[in-house]
Every structure is written in structure tokens, then in C-alpha cells.
């Protein structure tokens, strides 16, 4: 199992001592015999024995951490347990075993009242099918979490109106959900989830029900919002491209197990399992990797080109410039210090090269 998060948390710039969300060995097991088997197992869960007893693993020993302001995307195909994991963390479903901490507090030990308070103040969630209340207008839907909390009608309506402006639905506040397009409905869902100013934002396949064009538009919108709001985000999707596009870190799940949890670049460069590699093979790497990811050691060369590229720049954006430059190009960090070099060869390798493993197998096939 390769579900450790090891050397990959370097992107989280905050060095807060505790993660906002922390899951430790979380299990969600379905089936009639689950309780009986759990009682027998004394905490040591043997997957085979459980499966023989007719149990099904929704989530199998998942551990992850999300830090403040970070966006972790859980990616997996249908049935991989990604939504189940999200539901465990939001406690919409009960976790079979393991522990979950929100801001250091034990989520699973909370009683109904504490949980309600937590949700009213700290959590917001967006759903795949929007889950708007059909009998309420856009405005009322967005104000709903505030009203449930006991905010006065006047204040909650004012706040809801702000949210409507934020997500760009101005003028449609008195529409009913059924009168809106899918994209607009999801804007309402987003506005509603943000109405209480939560710290933690859960998104369960928020854009999967939308057309490709609208989806792209909503992703941009989402990035814009996140730039402004800087929430701690747990985002679930089955779309690997979407994950690459949005995530700080990606956790790839299969059959309830987290196969790999790392930054997009590391996942593309070093897929941990064959399953992960299947996703990364067709990824346009120049769109994912940054100069910092592929730069070489500075070494002895001192003959640099005049242009310099920042470490965080995506290859795609600098490729043409580097290719037109006969000399090596310096890669600089935030302080303008040179930390590595890029040359034509490395760019061409990213653009047209194949993975070593793959090249090898093609050669073998040709040899036979």
C-alpha cells in the first residue's frame, strides 16, 4: 500500500502545526456482517476475512491530511470510494473504524449538537446534482444555511445577496432552481455552501453534471473564488484533467484504497502504481509540469541566456521561448536567485518524449 504522504507536502507553504483535516486509518465497510466482524477483529482489520464474510470496503485504510488554504482533490473512478471518503469526513455517513480530526477535534466523538454547530459554522458542501431546495428561490436557497442557524431574515437576505453578486447571478435572485440552467444552479449551490463563511469547503463532483464548456467556465470561476477566499478544500472528482488543473495535491483512489497522494507534478513524473500510470500516460505534461519540476542542476555552466524563467511557470508557457534560445535558460526562485537550468533538450523531452518504461516496452515489441 502506498498511501503515505511522505515527501510531498512541500507545497503547503503554511507551517501550521496541525492540519485542518486529518484522517488516520479510516475504514468504511458495508455489509450486514460488518458489526459482527468488527467485534471479532479487535481493531486488526483483515481485508480478505471481511470480504469472505460478505463485507464490501467503501474506504480501506485511508489516511490523509489537508492543511490550511490547501486544495486536496480526491480522484477516482465510480465505485472507488472517493465520495464515501468525503462523506466520512463530513460525517454524512458513519465511519466504521479509524479517526478523523477537524482542527484537532475528534469528529467521530462529537454528538449531534456539536456536529450541527460544526456544520453551521465551519463547513460548506457542494453537491454533484446541486441539491437545491426546489420550493425556495435562489435567494432563499442561499440564505437557507443562515436561517437555519438563526440569523435574522434581514441579515441573511443581505448576506445572500452578496453571495449572489459574488457568483455572478445578479438579477436572478427570485428565480426558482427549475428555471435555471445546470451551470447557474451549481453557482447557487456554491453560493449556498459559502454563505456561512466556512473554513472548510467540501465539493462532491461539483462540475460533473455540466457540459464540457460550462465545466471549464465553472472551473475558472472556482479558481477565481479560491484565490479570493483561500479556503481549505476537499474536492472529489472522477476527471483526472480537472484534478490536475485545480489541485494543490491529488489523492488517487481505487477500490477504497488511496493509491497515491501527491502534487500533480510528482504524480505525472513518478506515478506510484501501474493504475496511476494509466491516468498519467496521456496527460499533456507540458501543461502540468513547471520549470522547477524538470530543471537540471546548475553545474559548472555559466553561459546563460538572457531570459530567465520563474520556478512556478508551467512549461507550456515558456516552451517557445526556451526552444528559440540556443543557450541554457536559468530558472529563478522568488528572490531572483538562480536555482537551476533548462535547455532545449529537456523541453523537447517533455513535449515529445515518452516515459522510459514505455519506450522500453515498445522496443521489446519491435524486437519480437
Amino acid at each position: 500500500m502506498t498511501n503515505e504522504t511522505s515527501n510531498s507536502t512541500d507545497t503547503s507553504t503554511d507551517n501550521d502545526d496541525q492540519p485542518v483535516i486529518k484522517c488516520d486509518g479510516v475504514y468504511k465497510i458495508f455489509g450486514e456482517n460488518t458489526e459482527e466482524m468488527m467485534a471479532k477483529s479487535n481493531g486488526n482489520i483483515d481485508v480478505e476475512k471481511f470480504e469472505d464474510a460478505g463485507c464490501i470496503f467503501g474506504v480501506n485504510n485511508a489516511s490523509l491530511e489537508v492543511h490550511k488554504g490547501e486544495m486536496l482533490i480526491v480522484m477516482g473512478l465510480s465505485g472507488s470510494g472517493k465520495s464515501t471518503l468525503l462523506r466520512c469526513i463530513s460525517r454524512l455517513t458513519n465511519t466504521t473504524a479509524g479517526s478523523i480530526f477537524i482542527d484537532g477535534e475528534d469528529l467521530l466523538a462529537m454528538d449531534a449538537k456539536e456536529l450541527t454547530q460544526l456544520r453551521r459554522n465551519k463547513m460548506g458542501m457542494v453537491f454533484q446534482s446541486f441539491a437545491l431546495l426546489p420550493h425556495k428561490t435562489v435567494l432563499e436557497n442561499i440564505a437557507f444555511p443562515l436561517q437555519v442557524k438563526g440569523t435574522s431574515t434581514q441579515d441573511s437576505m443581505k448576506r445572500a445577496m452578496d453571495m449572489i453578486n459574488l457568483v455572478g447571478l445578479t438579477g436572478r435572485e427570485n428565480y426558482f432552481p427549475r428555471q435555471l440552467s445546470g451551470g447557474q444552479q451549481q453557482r447557487v449551490g456554491i453560493a449556498r455552501s459559502l454563505a456561512v463563511e466556512p473554513d472548510i469547503w467540501f465539493l462532491d463532483e461539483p462540475f460533473s453534471a455540466l457540459d464540457p464548456l460550462i465545466r471549464k467556465e465553472m472551473q475558472d470561476e472556482f479558481l477565481r473564488l479560491q484565490e479570493m477566499l483561500n479556503k481549505t478544500i476537499l474536492f472529489v472528482t472522477h476527471d483526472f484533467d480537472e484534478a490536475l488543473r485545480l489541485a494543490d495535491r491529488i489523492a488517487i483512489m481505487k477500490d477504497g484504497v488511496i493509491e497515491q497522494c501527491d502534487t500533480p507534478a510528482n504524480i505525472v513524473l513518478h506515478p506510484a502504481t501501474e493504475y496511476v500510470a494509466k491516468f498519467t500516460n496521456d496527460v499533456p505534461r507540458e501543461k502540468v509540469l513547471t520549470c522547477g519540476n524538470i530543471m537540471e542542476e546548475v553545474g559548472t555552466t555559466s553561459d546563460f541566456s538572457e531570459i530567465k524563467v520563474p520556478r512556478d511557470a508551467v512549461i507550456e508557457t515558456v516552451a517557445e521561448a526556451v526552444l528559440n534560445e540556443p543557450k541554457s535558460v536559468a530558472v529563478i526562485d522568488d528572490n531572483d536567485d538562480t536555482i537551476g537550468v533548462l535547455n532545449r533538450k529537456s523541453i523537447i523531452h517533455i513535449l515529445f518524449g515518452k516515459d522510459d518504461s514505455e519506450t522500453l516496452s515498445t522496443n521489446q515489441a519491435a524486437g519480437e
Partner: protein
């Protein structure tokens, strides 16, 4: 021949059916009809049950758990049974509510009496609540209609109230209204409550469901007997019977709606921080609103359908007058009263719908007058109405103030017109109608009735259980057999056969008409909409209304009952046919068209097979509707179970008989329901359209 055997091998059920029919006819003709032959008629094992029921009800009412109560009249404590005190308390509070609303509408003294005494009221002549002028009630209702849903509803309400007032039915209409305004909200609240409990608790649902099945197939009349025993006679008894009758569909639809709420909406509610109460009242129930509103609609329809039936146990109002008019064969008056009932039903339904769909504007910056516009208008109407009424007092000298209250039967009436119409029909068509009538009775009805009555009990069991077995397997066969066994063990098997014969006849004709007209209308979008509207309208009419025109034409005979049954029971058959056919996926229709089918081929080969399971559910409804109508037909004289139920109503110890008879009717319905529903579900599964 080869072709035939191949065909039969592909449809093993056809062979089974043929074999079953063969066995049935062998039994039919070989069993000797004699009273002592157990194969001919089962002995009435359950004959003693009604008596036992009577005794146990008596015990519960009058002897069980005696408590000490203080009697104001004799100023002393006395012992009385717990149950009778409870039912008395319920009766009193329901009656108080009804009287209260009634007196707001048409004035009276009983509310004041409730707080003081009869002596006080008779000593003080002023102690009488004045009636609101009819103009005020109408004006307020119109304003309400406008406030809730806009101009068109206001116009509808205006027409309805004017009709009622102008035709001189104001007082009975308000009496009926006061009774519906109590019974309907009570049923809705009770239904939603029980629906929510059933949604929360699987166990409760398992217990409740069979009870609902029985309750919804019991004929209206059989509720009346137990209600009179427990609650006596009067408006409150009528309201309570109505509540008992109207609540089951409300429960069912609430449960259906709650179960249909998408899990994501539920999760959204939880994530928005709803506690359990908020989750139920702010998320689940409003989201399930569509089905719940259908339930409210059903409740209002049931309440008005019960208006007539409740008048048997003392409910005043339009229903009572309608019953009287029917008994006196005053067709015109009955028709006018029937229209009043329909109008009240439509208005109440539209108002409740408008109320549920009301939208609030949070940002409109309104002045005090604008915000309280409608209450102010209603206040104005009150003042204007009172002024108008006092002016009316000066204008009309003959003691009748038409601006205040148009007394009963002092309004317009079209009775003469209808009466002359009836006379004209009788004069001109009597002989041909009579020929048809007699021909039908002699050539069809009597032979059919005799054929049913000539069935040995064993043959009936074999036939019905056999069909259930072929359609739904052993379990269905046992359920149906159990239901039949109950009926066969009472002393009313022959009566049940007559009920069955009338319903069968009605169902066959209704289903045929429904299937044909439904299929024709489904061919065209415009016609589809039209026929659904017609079905809606006809369903609004209380079942009693259908008796009016048929008595007019055919007099008091079996033919009248059957024609009323056919009209009433054709509605669901037509509706479900249209719905089933228009729900056939467009892609399949297109596929058919591209394969080059003609319109008729498409109907036979694509549409009908796919829609048939749904149509079968319609036939199922048709059976229940037909049974209800056959029982109501007892009003105009039949000799089946209905007549006995009617008789038990006027019997002091009728509760046992009434209940058992009601169960017999319910069980006929449930047996058919079991077979048809199982079949429809199997087919739906097989076609993948479940």
C-alpha cells in the same frame, strides 16, 4: 397444428390458463347445488363474529376501565367508562370547532352557549353571533384568491360564490364548508404526521401498509357504523368519518413524497446545519411538496365526496339536501346542489394550491399600507358589506334582505327547466329507453347474475387462486385464497357474488371504453391534454353526482347503478391508458417509425405492450372505483352487500355486521388488487420500465 403447438410452447401460461378454465368448468357443472354440500357453499364459520364484535365494542365503550367523572347537570360524581369519556371529549371539541366556523359564516348561538349556557342565551336576546353578509364572505374569498394566485383564481372564486348565493344555497353551502374546513386540515395534519412516522420507522410502515390497503378499499358506508357507535350522530361524526376516510391517501402520498427526496438534498440539509426538526420541516416536507399537495387535493375531494355520505349520520349542509332531492327524484335541484359541491371542491383545491406556491418578496421596500394590503382590503369589504346589508334592509320590504342572506330556496332555480327536460325525455324516449333497459336486464344482467350465483364455491376458489398462482406464484395464490376464504365463511357469500357480478360487468365495459378512448386520444397531443383535463374534472365530482342523470333516464333499476358505475370507473381506465401510452419513450416510437410500421402496427406492437403494465394499474383503480360505486348504488336499490351495509347503518347493533360487510367488499378489491398489481410489477420488471 405444428404452428399452434409451437406457439403454445412459447407461452406456457396460456396452456396453464386453458387447463385452469377446463377444471373450472368441470367443477362448475359437476357440483350439486344443495345447501348441505360443502363444495357448493361453505358453512358460515364466521356467522358469530358480528355478535362478538358488537359485544366487545359495547364492553370497550361502556364497561372498560371505569373512571369517576364530575357531572355538571346532577352536580355529582358518577362512574363512566374511559372510552366513552375520550370519544365524548373528541366529539365535543370537533363539534365546537365546526360550530364556531359555521357561526362566523352564517351566525348562531352555539358558540356563545359553549361558554355560557342555554339559559343565558334564552334570557339575553342579544347573545347571538350575527351572520356575515354573504357579500362579505364572497368578497373576502375573492381577495384571498387574488392574493394567493392572481386574477384568474379571483374570477373563479367570484363565479363560484355568486352561483351559490344566487341559487339560494348559501346556508347549506356554508354548513358544508364549515365541516370541510375542519375535516380537511385535520386529515392533512394527521396524514402528514403518520406519513412522517412511517418514513422514520420501518416497523411502523410495515404495520401501517396493510391497514391502509384495507382502509382504502373499504366502502365509505362501512366507516359510518363504527363512527356512530363511538361518536354518536351529528356534524362531528360526519367530520370524523371523513377524516378516517381521507387520511389514508394523505399518509400514502406523504410517504411516497418523502421517499422520493433525493439523498443529496437530504445531505445538503444536514451539511447546512439543520437539526432533526429543521431537516424534517424545512427540507424533507417542502421538497416532497409535490406529492403532499396531490395528497391535499385528494383530501379535499374525499371530504366533499363524503359530504353526501356523511349526511347519513347527521352532517348538515349540501349533502343532506342533495340526498333529500335524490330521494324525492327532484333532478334539477339535485343537479344544482351537486354543482355547488363541485364548485366548493374546486375553489378549495385551487386556494390551497395557491397558498402552497406563494412566493415572498424580501426586498420590496413597502409602506405599511402596501404590506398589509390584503387584510386592509378585507376589512374594507367587511365594512362595505355591512353597510350594503343595512341599505338592503331598507330596500327589501318583504322581510328578506337579499344583500344579507339569500334564504334557502329563495334564489333562482333552474329546476323547472330540468324537470321539463326530464319530462320531455320521458315522453319522447321512454319507450325506447325502456326497451333498452328491459333488454339489458333480461338478456344480459339476469343471466350473468344467475351464472355468478350458480358457481360452486370450490370452483370459484380454483379459478381465482389458479389465476393468482399463474400470475404471481404461490404467495399470491395463498393471499387471494385467504381473502376469499374470509368472505366465503361469512353468511353473505351470495351477496358478495352479486357485488362481484355488478362490478365485473362495470369493469369490463369501463375498461373497454377507457382503453379505446384513451388510445384514440393518446394519438394526438392536443387530445391527450384535453382528455386528461376531462378526467381531472370528472374526478372532482363526488361519486354521488353520477347517480343524478342516470336516475333521470333509467329510474331506480340495476341499469342505473351500472351506468353510474361505468361512468365513474371509466375515468381511471382512460387516464392510465393515456398516461401509459404517452410515456412510451420517443426513441422507441422513432425506432418503430424507421422500421416502417403503420400507425396501427405501432399501437399494437410497440405502444400497447409497453404501456400495458401501467394500463393494468388503471384497471386496478377501475375495479376499486367500480366496487365503491356498486356499494353506493345501494342508495337506489340493489340487492348486494351494499344494501346490507346500508341496513346496518340504521341498526342499533349494526357495527359488527357493518364492519364484516365492509371487510368483505374490501377483500374483493384487495384480491383483485393482489393479482393485477403483481402482474403489472412483473411485467414492468420484465420490460425494464419499473
Amino acid at each position: 397444428m405444428n404452428h399452434l403447438t409451437g406457439h403454445l410452447a412459447r407461452h406456457p401460461k396460456l396452456v396453464q390458463f386453458a387447463a385452469l378454465l377446463a377444471v373450472f368448468f368441470v367443477l362448475y357443472f359437476s357440483i350439486d347445488p344443495s345447501e348441505n354440500n360443502i363444495l357448493w357453499r361453505l358453512p358460515a364459520f364466521l356467522a358469530a363474529v358480528p355478535e362478538m364484535l358488537n359485544n366487545s365494542v359495547e364492553f370497550i365503550m361502556f364497561e372498560w376501565l371505569p373512571i369517576e367523572t364530575y357531572n355538571v347537570e346532577i352536580e355529582d360524581y358518577e362512574t363512566s367508562a374511559l372510552m366513552i369519556e375520550i370519544t365524548r371529549a373528541i366529539s365535543r371539541s370537533v363539534l365546537f370547532c365546526i360550530e364556531f366556523i359555521r357561526e362566523i359564516l352564517i351566525g348562531g348561538q352555539k358558540t356563545i352557549v359553549a361558554f355560557t349556557s342555554w339559559d343565558f342565551v334564552s334570557e339575553n336576546k342579544w347573545a347571538r353571533w350575527p351572520a356575515l353578509p354573504w357579500t362579505v364572505v364572497a368578497g373576502v374569498a375573492i381577495t384571498l384568491g387574488y392574493a394567493l394566485s392572481g386574477r384568474w383564481l379571483a374570477i373563479l372564486v367570484g363565479c363560484a360564490t355568486s352561483y351559490i348565493a344566487v341559487f339560494g344555497q348559501w346556508e347549506p353551502a356554508m354548513e358544508t364548508l364549515s365541516f370541510v374546513l375542519i375535516a380537511a386540515p385535520l386529515s392533512v395534519v394527521l396524514g402528514v404526521f403518520l406519513g412522517v412516522v412511517a418514513f422514520k420507522s420501518q416497523k411502523f410502515e410495515t404495520v401501517l401498509m396493510p391497514l391502509l390497503n384495507v382502509a382504502q378499499t373499504m366502502p365509505h358506508f362501512s366507516y359510518l357504523v363504527p363512527v356512530t357507535v363511538f361518536f354518536g350522530v351529528g356534524d362531528h361524526a360526519g367530520a370524523i368519518a371523513t377524516v378516517i376516510f381521507a387520511t389514508p391517501p394523505m399518509i400514502r402520498l406523504t410517504l411516497l413524497g418523502l421517499k422520493g427526496v433525493s439523498p443529496e438534498v437530504l445531505e445538503a440539509g444536514m451539511m447546512n446545519g439543520c437539526n432533526k426538526v429543521q431537516l424534517m420541516f424545512k427540507v424533507l416536507i417542502p421538497t416532497a411538496r409535490h406529492d403532499i399537495l396531490v395528497g391535499v387535493n385528494q383530501v379535499i375531494m374525499q371530504c366533499l365526496a363524503m359530504a353526501v355520505i356523511a349526511s347519513f349520520i347527521g352532517a348538515k349542509g349540501l349533502g343532506f339536501n342533495l340526498l333529500l332531492a335524490l330521494n324525492q327524484l327532484r333532478i334539477g335541484q339535485a343537479l344544482e346542489l351537486g354543482i355547488c359541491i363541485v364548485l366548493i371542491a374546486v375553489v378549495l383545491e385551487k386556494l390551497s394550491l395557491g397558498w402552497a406556491n406563494k412566493q415572498i418578496d424580501y426586498f420590496a421596500d413597502l409602506s405599511f399600507v402596501e404590506r398589509h394590503k390584503y387584510p386592509l382590503i378585507m376589512g374594507g369589504i367587511l365594512v362595505a358589506g355591512v353597510v350594503l346589508a343595512s341599505i338592503g334592509g331598507l330596500i327589501f320590504k318583504d322581510g328578506i334582505n337579499y344583500f344579507y342572506l339569500i334564504p334557502h330556496n329563495k334564489g333562482l332555480t333552474t329546476e323547472l327547466f330540468w324537470q321539463s327536460g326530464v319530462d320531455w325525455i320521458v315522453d319522447n324516449c321512454y319507450s325506447s329507453l325502456q326497451v333498452f333497459n328491459v333488454g339489458l336486464i333480461v338478456n344480459v344482467l339476469v343471466p350473468m347474475k344467475n351464472a355468478y350465483l350458480g358457481m360452486p364455491v370450490v370452483a370459484t376458489f380454483v379459478l381465482v387462486m389458479g389465476i393468482a398462482y399463474i400470475v404471481g406464484g404461490l404467495r399470491s395464490a395463498l393471499v387471494v385464497g385467504g381473502l376469499l376464504l374470509f368472505i366465503a365463511s361469512t353468511e353473505w357469500w351470495d351477496r358478495a357474488l352479486i357485488t362481484a357480478y355488478m362490478s365485473t360487468f362495470g369493469v369490463i365495459i369501463s375498461a373497454t371504453i377507457g382503453l379505446i378512448s384513451g388510445s384514440l386520444c393518446a394519438q394526438n397531443k392536443f387530445a391527450t391534454k384535453g382528455i386528461l383535463l376531462v378526467c381531472d374534472t370528472f374526478q372532482t365530482f363526488p361519486s354521488f353526482i353520477y347517480l343524478i342523470p342516470v336516475i333521470m333516464l333509467f329510474g331506480v333499476t340495476d341499469t342505473s347503478v351500472l351506468i353510474a358505475v361505468i361512468i365513474y370507473a371509466t375515468i381511471p381506465a382512460t387516464r392510465y391508458t393515456v398516461e401509459g401510452l404517452s410515456n412510451v419513450p420517443q426513441s422507441l416510437q422513432d425506432a418503430g417509425t424507421m422500421s416502417g410500421v403503420s400507425r396501427f402496427q405501432r399501437w399494437i406492437q410497440i405502444e400497447l405492450p409497453l404501456a400495458f403494465p401501467h394500463i393494468m394499474l388503471g384497471i386496478n383503480q377501475t375495479v376499486v372505483f367500480a366496487l365503491f360505486m356498486v356499494i353506493i348504488g345501494a342508495m337506489i336499490g340493489t340487492d348486494d352487500l351494499g344494501q346490507l351495509i346500508l341496513k346496518s347503518l340504521s341498526d342499533e347493533f349494526g357495527i359488527g355486521n357493518g364492519l364484516m360487510l365492509g371487510l368483505c367488499v374490501a377483500f374483493i378489491g384487495l384480491a383483485v388488487d393482489q393479482i393485477l398489481r403483481t402482474w403489472a410489477n412483473e411485467r414492468k420488471k420484465a420490460l425494464g420500465v419499473a
